[in-house]
C-alpha cells in the first residue's frame, strides 16, 4: 500500500509530489522528513497536488512523500465526548503534552485513547446474527451519555463478551461472508462520506433553544438546518454558544472553524462549569469541541467541518439528537478559496471556486432526522446551525447566498440592534423559519392551542410597528391616532420585554417554551386590554402608566420554578384594566 514519492514543488499549504503510483484522489499522505499530514486534492499525470494540514516552512523539494492509501478518516468510539480536537481529530490536549503551549508540526497522536479500559456490556448474544448498525453493547462514556457500540460488519456473532477492554482488544467476533473478523469498540470512517441511514423523516419536533426570539418567531426543527449570518460584533458567536448551551440536544458538536483562539478557550472553560438543566451534570459531559483557529493551518480548517459532522452522524446513529454548531462556515469557504487559488483554478464569484455551492449543499444535506441502520429501531437527528460571516455584513455575497439556498431557518443578525445592545441582535422581521407550519401541530399539542395565533398576532404587531415607524420618522409620534400609538407601545413591549434576552443573565439566559408562552400571552393580553381601553376613550398616557407594566417588563427575571408568578400577571393585567375602566 505505502508508496514513496518525492516532492517537487512547495507553495505554502499546497505542495506537489511525483511518483506516488496508484495513490487515489483524497488519499492521505505523509509529507517530508517530518511526516506532515496531507491530502491529495488533484492528480495530473504523475504529479500529485497535495494540501498539507501543517505549516510547510523549510520543507525542500526532493524530500519523500509517503502515500497511506487511505482517505482522511476519523476514529469513532468511546472517548470522543469531552474531547477537544483540532481540524483533523488530533486531541489538542495530547498535542500540548507532546509539544508545549505552541503547536509545532509533525506531531502524531491518536484521536482516541487506546490505553484506557472501558467497561463494555454486551447486549447481543453469541450465535445471534447481526447487521451493520446493530447495537452490540454499551459503554458508559460519560456520566450522562451511554455510548452504543455499533456492529461494523454483518454476519453471525461467533463470540461476544462483556468486561473491561481497551479499544485495541476485540470484544467479539463476527462470521461474515468473507470469513471471521474481530469486532472492536471503535472503527474508522472517511470524513467526506456521509454515514448511511435507513430513512429520513420530515422535521416535526422543534429544538427547544431557550432563546425566545428563535423558539417563537424562527423555530429550528430537530434535524433541521439554520444559518446565522451577521457582521462582526453582532453576536454570532454568543448566539451559537447560547444555542449550544441551552438547546435540548443530547449531544453537542461545536466547531470553531477559523475563529479566535480565545473564544474556544472560553467554551472550553465554561462548558465544564455550566450544568445541564436536565441531568444536573456539566454540559461538557455531552460535548465535543473541534477547534481550528484562524492561525492554524488553513487546509485543516477545510477538513474541520467534515470531521465535526462525521462525529455528529456517529452519535445520531446511536439514536441521539445531536446539534452541530459550525462557527464560521465563511472561514471554511475562505479556506476552500485559498486552496483553490493555490491550485490556480478558474475562480467563480469573488474568487470562490465554482464548486462552493455544491460543497455547501452537500454539507448541510448531512443534517436530518433519520431512522438509523440496524436494530433495535431507533431515531436520531443531526441539527446543523452554521454561522456565516459576510464581509461588511452584506449578505449578497456568495457564501451567504449559497447558504440561504439550502438552510431552512435564517436568523438575521443586525448590526444596528447590536449597537443598541439589543441582544440577541437577531432581527425579528428579517429572520424566518420554513419549519413554522410543520412544527405548529407540536406547539399546539405541547405548549398551548393558541400558541400559533399568539405568535402570528405578535408578529403582525411588529410588522405594523415597522410601517408606523416610517410615518413617525416624518411627522413624529404625536401625529398618530391613539390606537396606533398604543400599537407602538405594545410592539416596544414585545421587543424589549420579550425578544430582548441577556445571554449573561443567570435566569434570563434560558426560557422554557412554557415560560415563553406565558410571557407572550401576558403581553398579548395587555395589548387586547389596552386597545379596549383606548376604544373607551382612556388616554394612552394613563394606559402606559399602569403599574403592571413594570411587572411585565421584569417577567423575564422570574425563575422557571416560579412560573405561577408569570401566570398571575395575566389576572393582574385584567384587574388593573378593569379598575381603569371603572374610573
Amino acid at each position: 500500500m505505502a508508496k514513496t514519492g518525492t516532492l517537487v514543488r512547495i507553495t505554502g499549504p499546497v505542495v506537489v509530489a511525483k511518483d506516488l503510483g496508484h495513490a487515489k484522489l483524497y488519499d492521505v499522505v505523509r509529507v517530508g522528513e517530518e511526516k506532515l499530514v496531507g491530502e491529495i486534492i488533484k492528480i495530473v499525470g504523475n504529479e500529485f497536488v497535495i494540501q498539507v494540514y501543517e505549516d510547510t516552512a523549510g520543507i525542500r523539494p526532493g524530500e519523500p512523500v509517503i502515500s497511506t492509501g487511505e482517505p482522511l478518516s476519523v476514529e469513532l468510539g468511546p472517548g470522543i465526548l469531552r474531547s477537544f480536537y483540532d481540524g483533523i481529530q488530533r486531541p489538542l490536549e495530547k498535542i500540548e503534552e507532546a509539544a508545549g503551549a505552541f503547536i509545532t508540526r509533525g506531531i502524531n497522536v491518536a484521536p482516541l485513547d487506546h490505553k484506557k479500559k472501558w467497561e463494555f456490556k454486551a447486549l447481543k448474544k453469541k450465535g445471534e446474527s447481526v447487521e451493520v448498525g446493530d447495537i452490540l453493547g454499551e459503554v458508559q462514556e460519560t456520566d450522562v451519555i451511554t455510548h452504543r457500540i455499533l456492529a461494523n460488519d454483518s454476519g453471525k456473532l461467533t463470540d461476544i463478551r462483556s468486561g473491561k477492554f481497551t479499544l485495541d482488544d476485540p470484544i467479539g467476533e463476527i462470521d461474515t461472508r468473507k470469513g471471521k473478523v474481530p469486532a472492536y469498540m471503535y472503527h474508522r470512517w472517511v470524513v467526506r462520506k456521509p454515514r448511511p441511514y435507513r430513512e429520513k423523516f420530515p422535521p416535526i419536533v422543534p429544538l427547544s433553544t431557550g432563546m425566545r426570539l428563535v423558539d417563537t418567531f424562527a423555530p429550528i426543527a430537530k434535524g433541521g438546518t439554520a444559518c446565522i449570518p451577521g457582521p462582526f460584533g453582532s453576536g454570532k458567536t454568543v448566539t451559537q454558544q447560547s444555542l449550544a448551551k441551552w438547546s435540548d440536544a443530547e449531544i453537542v458538536v461545536y466547531i470553531g472553524c477559523g475563529e479566535r483562539g480565545n473564544e474556544m478557550t472560553e467554551v472550553l472553560n465554561e462548558f465544564p462549569k455550566i450544568l445541564d438543566p436536565k441531568s444536573g451534570k456539566p454540559l461538557m459531559e455531552r460535548t465535543v469541541l473541534i477547534a481550528n483557529t484562524s492561525n492554524m493551518p488553513v487546509a485543516a480548517r477545510e477538513a474541520s467541518i467534515y470531521t465535526g459532522i462525521t462525529l455528529a452522524e456517529y452519535y445520531r446513529d446511536m439514536g441521539y439528537g445531536v446539534s452541530l454548531m459550525a462557527d464560521s462556515t465563511s472561514r471554511w469557504a475562505e479556506a476552500l478559496r485559498e486552496i483553490s487559488g493555490r491550485l490556480e483554478e478558474m475562480p467563480g464569484e469573488e474568487g470562490y471556486p465554482a464548486y462552493l455551492a455544491r460543497k455547501l449543499a452537500e454539507f448541510y444535506e448531512r443534517a436530518g432526522r433519520v431512522k438509523t441502520l440496524g436494530s433495535p429501531d431507533r431515531e436520531g437527528s443531526v441539527t446543523v446551525i452554521g454561522a456565516v460571516s459576510p464581509p461588511g455584513g452584506d449578505i449578497s455575497e456568495p457564501v451567504s447566498q449559497n447558504t440561504l439556498r439550502v438552510t431552512k431557518v435564517f436568523l438575521a443578525l443586525d448590526a444596528s440592534l447590536a449597537h443598541r445592545r439589543h441582544f440577541p441582535a437577531i432581527h425579528w422581521l428579517k429572520s424566518y423559519s420554513l419549519y413554522t407550519d410543520t412544527l405548529d401541530p407540536w406547539y399546539e399539542e405541547n405548549i398551548g392551542s393558541d400558541w400559533p395565533t399568539l405568535r402570528n398576532e405578535a408578529m403582525a404587531l411588529l410588522q405594523k410597528e415597522a410601517e408606523l415607524q416610517e410615518i413617525v420618522q416624518l411627522v413624529g409620534p404625536d401625529a398618530l391616532p391613539e390606537k396606533e400609538q398604543a400599537i407602538l407601545l405594545i410592539a416596544k413591549m414585545i421587543r424589549e420585554d420579550y425578544l430582548q434576552q441577556s445571554a449573561f443573565h443567570e435566569i434570563d439566559a434560558f426560557a422554557s417554551m412554557k415560560k415563553q408562552y406565558l410571557m407572550l400571552r401576558n403581553i398579548m393580553r395587555f395589548y387586547e386590554r389596552a386597545i379596549g381601553a383606548v376604544d373607551l376613550g382612556i388616554q394612552l398616557k394613563t394606559i402606559s402608566g399602569v403599574k403592571v407594566r413594570e411587572k411585565v417588563g421584569r417577567m423575564k427575571e422570574i425563575p422557571e420554578e416560579r412560573l405561577n408568578d408569570v401566570e398571575a400577571i395575566y389576572k393582574e393585567i385584567d384587574r388593573e384594566f378593569d379598575s381603569l375602566r371603572k374610573e
Binding site: 503547536i103 462582526f232 480565545n262 460571516s389 461588511g392 413624529g476
Partner: protein, 502 residues
C-alpha cells in the same frame, strides 16, 4: 551554503532563480547586488529547479547577469534578549540608535507558532486605561487584541499614547513592557510616539521597531512579526505584561496586496489577496495568556479605514479576528470631543470576563448596557427631532436628547490628560443616567439603582470624584441641575409605593 548567479527574472519585489536545488520553502535568502550591497529575502515558491524569492527591500539596481543569490538554509529568525528594552530597531530588526546589536539569548522564528487553544488561559485581568468610553463600555483585559479603527485626520495616535501611558491593573508590581511597531508611518508620527515615550519614561521599558513611510514596503510584512516575536519572548519567557502597539495595519495590508499582485495571484475583494484573513490572523492571534505562565501579550493595532468605510476589507477582516474594536468618529472629532471614541460601533468581546463583582464593580455590566441603549436612543431621536422639531417629541424623548448631549460632553469628552479611575467613570455614568426616568432604566437591576443611582448612597460615597467629574468641561451643568431635582422628587414616592404593594 549555496550561492547562485542564475537570476532569470526580476519583477517588482520578486526575483526568480533558476537551477537551484535543496532550497526550502520560506527559507531566508541573501541577495548581493551588482554594487556589492546586500538585501535579505525569503523563498515564496520552490520547485526542484527554480525558486521565487521575495526581496525585503528595494529591487532597484538588480540585474539578471551580476546578481548573486545565497540561500541561508533556515527560516527568518530574530535574536531576542531582555537587553532589547529601551532600544530602537529598524523594520528588519537592525539597531537604529547607534548602539551595538544586543547579544541574543535565543533565536526565534519570526512567524511564530499558533498557541494551542487548549493551552490558552482566558484573559480576565481588567486593565484600567483611564478612558471612560473604554473602561466602562469597552473594557480592555490583559491578553486581548483590541484594535483602534481610525481614519485619516483623527487623533488615534494621541489615544494610543494615552492608553500606553495610563494603563494599569490592580496589581501594580508586575513587570510591564511596551513593544511598538511602526509600519509605514511618517517620521513625524514616529517621533511623536518616541517623544511621548521619552517624556513619560516609558522608553526604557519599550522596544521600538520602525519601518517608516520611505522604507521598503515589503519590509512591512516583517516588522509586525519581529515585534510580536519580541513580545512573546518577553511575555512567555520573561514573565512580563507586554502591550504591543502596531500602527498602521492599513500599510501592512497595502504591502501584502503589492506582493500578491507582483506574484500575479487571483485577487480577492478590492485587489487584496484571498488569504488576507489567514495572514492577518497570524499577526492578531499572537496575543493572549497561556496557562501556567505569568506574562501576557495585549495587542493594540491601529488601522485607518480608507474612506471612513468600516466595511472595507482591512477593518472588516480585522474585526472578524480581533476581540472587538474601538472606533473613532469624525463627527465627534468635529464637535471637539476628545478622544472621539464612538461607543455605538465599538465593542470589547472579552469585557464580561474582566468586569463585575470582585473585578470592577457589580453594576458595571448593567450600567454599560444602559448607557449604550440610552445614548443610541438619544442619537436616533436627534435625527427625528431634526425632521419634526423638538417640540413634537414626548417629554421622555426630550430627556433622551439631552442625555445624549451630556453624555458626549461629559462622559466621552475627557481630553488626553485626564486619567479617570473606574469608580469615577461609573459614578459619572450613574449621574448622567439620573436625568432619565427610573422606569426607562431596564438594563440595570433595581437593587443597583437604589444602591448606586443618582441620589443614592452609592453616588455620595465618592463625592470627591463626582466633583472632579463635574469640574470637567460641562457647559450644560446649570441647565442640568434644574430638571434633575424635581425628577428625583417624583421618583422617590413611586418607588415607595411599588415596594409597599409587594
Amino acid at each position: 551554503m549555496k550561492e547562485y548567479k542564475t537570476v532569470s527574472q526580476i519583477a517588482g519585489p520578486l526575483v526568480f532563480v533558476e537551477n537551484v536545488s535543496g532550497v526550502g520553502y520560506n527559507e531566508l535568502v541573501e541577495v548581493t547586488l551588482p554594487n556589492g550591497n546586500k538585501q535579505k529575502g525569503q523563498v515564496l515558491d520552490v520547485t526542484d529547479t527554480h525558486a521565487v524569492v521575495q526581496i525585503f527591500g528595494s529591487t532597484s539596481g538588480l540585474n539578471t547577469t551580476q546578481t548573486s543569490v545565497k540561500f541561508l538554509g533556515e527560516t527568518m529568525k530574530l535574536g531576542v534578549s531582555t537587553e532589547m528594552l529601551g532600544r530602537i530597531f529598524s523594520g528588519l530588526g537592525e539597531p537604529k540608535d547607534n548602539a551595538p546589536k544586543p547579544v541574543a539569548e535565543k533565536y526565534l522564528d519570526i512567524s511564530g507558532a499558533a498557541i494551542n487553544p487548549y493551552s490558552r488561559a482566558e484573559p480576565r485581568d481588567f486593565i484600567q486605561t483611564g478612558v471612560s468610553t473604554i473602561d466602562c463600555m469597552n473594557t480592555l483585559v490583559r491578553g486581548q487584541k483590541l484594535p483602534i479603527f481610525s481614519a485619516s485626520g483623527l487623533p488615534h495616535n494621541q489615544l494610543a499614547v494615552q492608553i500606553a501611558r495610563q494603563s494599569k491593573t490592580k496589581d501594580q508590581k508586575e513587570e510591564f513592557a511596551v513593544v511598538f511597531a511602526a509600519v509605514g508611518i511618517t517620521h513625524e508620527e514616529a517621533s511623536f510616539f518616541m517623544r511621548d515615550f521619552e517624556k513619560t519614561g516609558a522608553l526604557e521599558r519599550a522596544v521600538l521597531f520602525l519601518n517608516l513611510a520611505d522604507d521598503p514596503s515589503v519590509e512591512r510584512i516583517i516588522t509586525p512579526r519581529l515585534a510580536l516575536t519580541t513580545a512573546e519572548y518577553l511575555a512567555f519567557e520573561k514573565d512580563m505584561h507586554v502591550l504591543v502597539i502596531i500602527t498602521d495595519m492599513t500599510n501592512y495590508c497595502e504591502a501584502l496586496r503589492e506582493i500578491a499582485s507582483a506574484r500575479q495571484e487571483v485577487p480577492g475583494r478590492r485587489g487584496y489577496p484571498g488569504y488576507m484573513y489567514t495572514d492577518l490572523s497570524t499577526i492578531y492571534e499572537r496575543a493572549g495568556r497561556i496557562k501556567g505562565r505569568k506574562g501576557t501579550v495585549t495587542q493594540f493595532p491601529i488601522l485607518t479605514m480608507p474612506g471612513d468605510d468600516i466595511t472595507h476589507p482591512i477593518p472588516d477582516l480585522t474585526g472578524y479576528i480581533t476581540e472587538g474594536q474601538i472606533v473613532l468618529s469624525r463627527d465627534l472629532h468635529r464637535k471637539n470631543v476628545a478622544p472621539p471614541v464612538d461607543p455605538l460601533p465599538s465593542l470589547s468581546r472579552l469585557m464580561n470576563l474582566g468586569i463585575g463583582d470582585g473585578r470592577t464593580r457589580e453594576d458595571h455590566r448593567g450600567i454599560a448596557d444602559q448607557l449604550y441603549a440610552a445614548y443610541a436612543n438619544g442619537r436616533d431621536l436627534r435625527s427625528l427631532s431634526a425632521v419634526v422639531g423638538e417640540e413634537s417629541l414626548t417629554d421622555t424623548d426630550r430627556k433622551y436628547l439631552r442625555f445624549a448631549d451630556d453624555f458626549e460632553k461629559r462622559f466621552i469628552m475627557q481630553g488626553s490628560n485626564e486619567d479617570r479611575t473606574i469608580e469615577q467613570t461609573l459614578s459619572l455614568g450613574w449621574e448622567l443616567l439620573g436625568s432619565l426616568p427610573t422606569e426607562e432604566l431596564k438594563r440595570v437591576k433595581v437593587e443597583y439603582i437604589k444602591k448606586y443611582g443618582a441620589g443614592s448612597k452609592g453616588s455620595s460615597e465618592a463625592p470627591a470624584e463626582k466633583k472632579a467629574a463635574q469640574e470637567g468641561p460641562s457647559p450644560t451643568n446649570p441647565e442640568k441641575a434644574a430638571p434633575k431635582a424635581p425628577l428625583k422628587a417624583k421618583k422617590a414616592p413611586s418607588k415607595g409605593k411599588r415596594k409597599s404593594r409587594k
